[in-house]
Amino acid sequence: MPTQEKTLDEILELAAKHFKVARATLTPDDDFFKTLGIDSLQALDLLTRLENHFHVELPDYELQGVSDFRTLAERIQARL
């Protein structure tokens, strides 16, 4: 099982690549809605990409109130 640090790193890589922002500009505690400039539909897109990448299911309600990469990584790690 990957470490939480590795999971976080993969999330940041994936987000940077898909939403076309420089990886170096993303930090774990960023609000990804603001940093990536995404709306609710794009957040769903991100959720699906993360599920596909990590081969996990992330029920939407587990993400309620989650807006930073670090907490997102914790939620994913709990399902690996």
Partner: protein, 267 residues
């Protein structure tokens, strides 16, 4: 009419396949305009089907297949009305959309929904009337109606019950969570999961395969395999209308319409 170009949808007939394309921003929400054009399509379907063996439903919009009922229109139309009149309006709308969806469900050809992105609520219900669902791996399926104090109203519950195990139906409806395409395939909802942007191409390839079979046999098989739960569909309309009369629904709709939440689609 072998082709039609509307504001909400368009259709064409070529090489034995009818393609019904949805193209109303932001994500093909189904309101009165959509209903009228869907009714037009349903009226034309018998004629179109004489020269076709397959029907493909898809969306040309990036956001997804369809986000379901137009909740803003529903709220702004219902809000100034007396409750009883608003409920009657909703019932009429539901009876009309049910007639359309029942027509597509029973269509005398094989139907394929090629879905991607948001396939929520009424959009999910539109896909559920089709015989096969081909899903882009970025498709997402959800029935978020409970957050509004409602149940799906376009025939979703009886058709889910027809196609899936009851535990999965409960999971989808009672939690309001969304499933990705892989999960939807694992529970038996989706027949094929394909790479991003490939759903329509694969649906066309599937339609071409269907064209190799005798049409009357295919139709006989479809009728035998796929019963339409008319009685439960009517019960669903009754229950929806009963719930729609509750004050919680108006509050839920108002919250949705006025939401500045970054995640209004997340239940």
């Amino acid at each position: 009419m072998n082709s039609f170009q509307g504001r909400y949808l368009s259709w064409t007939l070529a090489e034995g396949a009818i393609e019904l394309a949805l193209h109303r921003d932001p994500c093909n929400e189904i309101g009165l305009l959509a209903l009228e054009e869907l009714e037009k399509f349903a009226s034309a379907l018998d004629d179109l089907a004489r020269d076709a063996h397959a029907l493909i439903l898809h969306s040309t919009l990036k956001a997804g297949f369809c986000a379901g009922a137009d909740l803003r229109e529903l709220y702004f139309r219902s809000q100034p009305m007396e409750k009883a009149r608003a409920v009657e309006g909703v019932r009429t709308f539901l009876e009309r959309i049910h007639r359309v969806l029942n027509t597509i469900d029973a269509a005398p050809l094989t139907t394929i929904a090629a879905v991607h992105g948001v396939t929520f609520g009424g959009g999910f219900e539109l896909a559920l009337v089709c015989d096969l669902i081909v899903a882009d791996k970025m498709a997402r399926f959800c029935f978020p109606e409970l957050r509004l104090g409602l149940i799906p109203g376009f025939g979703g519950i009886p058709r889910l019950k027809r196609d899936l195990g009851n535990a999965v139906v409960r999971d989808l409806l009672l939690t309001g969570r969304s499933f990705n395409a892989t999960k939807a395939q694992s529970v038996g909802l989706v027949s094929q999961v394909v790479a991003e942007g490939e759903a329509l191409r694969v649906a066309r390839a599937t339609a071409a395969q269907l064209g190799k079979f005798d049409r009357r046999t295919a139709l006989a098989a479809k009728k035998f395999i796929k019963p339409i739960p008319y009685h439960e569909l009517k019960q669903e309309i009754d229950l929806f209308c009963q719930l729609f009369a509750e004050p919680a629904v108006e509050r839920g709709l108002q919250k949705f319409v006025e939401s500045t939440d970054a995640q209004p689609y997340l239940p």
